[in-house]
Symmetry: C2
Subunit: 226 residues, 2 copies
């Protein structure tokens, strides 16, 4: 299965670090920029402004129109090849980046949006506004994921709901959306990202691994039956 991830958070690109990709050069071919691949089998193709900046501390001080133009290039001038799925990672909000993605994907089929929230009301409030955005712009909602959902203390195994509890599931119910599942707060996951380790390979028996697998499977099934 060929999957692409397009990071359209131009001022705060996190995909390169989240996937421990370092700072590879982006090459050009006849059909445009060659995406960065995570492995020799080219199973995951990535594009992010993080790969294009010479200095990782460079600030992208761009207003909307410049952001919109680069997102257009990311969709049409990257040699994505034959992808089964293109996942677009957006910053929070309902502004230039989100509109630019939709405009540039008009020619393609947009299966829908996956919305991620924490359990707290301050976060579900933001996602409610994003649901309104999806309805206004005709984007189907594939489902809601609750992130930072409870923390199991590695010392005593007791669970603390640091950011409240169940807000994502409740939001899904309230808005008639599919609840895709919860991902707990897990130092193994954040530690893997910090150290540049592949979490899924390193901790296949963890509860977080199961949660992520189950969410991915549900999402994939819904895409295949769509």
């Amino acid at each position: 299965m060929a999957v692409g991830i397009l990071d359209v958070d131009l001022c705060g690109p996190s995909i390169p670090r989240m996937l421990s990709m370092g700072r590879p050069d982006v090459h050009q071919c006849d059909s445009g920029w060659v995406p960065v691949y995570t492995d020799a089998q080219k199973s995951l193709a990535l594009m992010s402004i993080g790969f294009l900046l010479e200095d990782p501390d460079e600030a992208v001080v761009w207003r909307g129109p410049k952001k919109t133009a680069l997102i257009g290039q990311f969709v049409s001038d990257v040699a994505w090849g034959e992808l089964d799925v293109l996942l677009v990672d957006t910053p929070p909000g309902t502004s230039d980046e989100h509109l630019a993605v939709l405009e540039n994907l008009k020619k393609h089929r947009v299966d829908g949006a996956v919305l991620v929230t924490t359990p707290q009301a301050v976060s579900t409030g933001d996602v409610r506004r994003e649901i309104t955005f999806c309805k206004k712009t005709g984007v189907p909602i594939l489902g809601i994921i609750e992130n930072m959902s409870g923390f199991v203390c590695p010392h005593c195994s007791e669970c603390s709901n640091i950011f409240s509890k169940g807000g994502g599931e409740e939001l899904a119910k309230l808005t008639g959306s599919v609840f895709l599942g919860s991902v707990p707060l897990d130092p193994l996951l954040s530690g893997s990202i910090e150290e540049g380790k592949d979490f899924l390979q390193s901790f296949p028996n963890s509860a977080t691994f199961s949660a992520i697998s189950s969410i991915s499977q549900t999402l994939l099934n819904s895409l295949q039956t769509a």
Copy 2:
């Protein structure tokens, strides 16, 4: 001391909920919009698009120029009165909102920026770009705060560094900035926001209260000696 908080996160305004303000009406007076006050003594004046939307789920689907215009109004058309300090809460990034704030505050003295990070590299990376933005635009950096800094389990009192450790302090050292302090992950704090309780009044003996007080005092001292 008269303090104002201006929330310029137009697509994801969180100040109304973070301060448990509900949905008060915003009134007009001769000199513009009257800010929302948290108490009868008018000790804290607030303005946020969250107070202006009829429906809290309404999506603000605005491109940069419209955002820039409203931020201009928030600075010049709000009857802030005589403030000692105006704190502007921005969304993450280095784009329209940030440029709009600086343009509109040109006539006033901008003391500087307070940058908030979590300990993880993925977050300090974003803040490094914001430091570059401040240098480019001539905004002094008042200091760096580390948020989500360790979690003390309420069951066994052991500390877990869920999002790594010390990244904020290290960033301050690396960039020659003042390190203002760390705020731990605390379910009492997030729970207070969730339930609409005043955390500082409810938990004056907590470690988080001490951390927040110490940061505020350091910041205030640096403003008074500036």
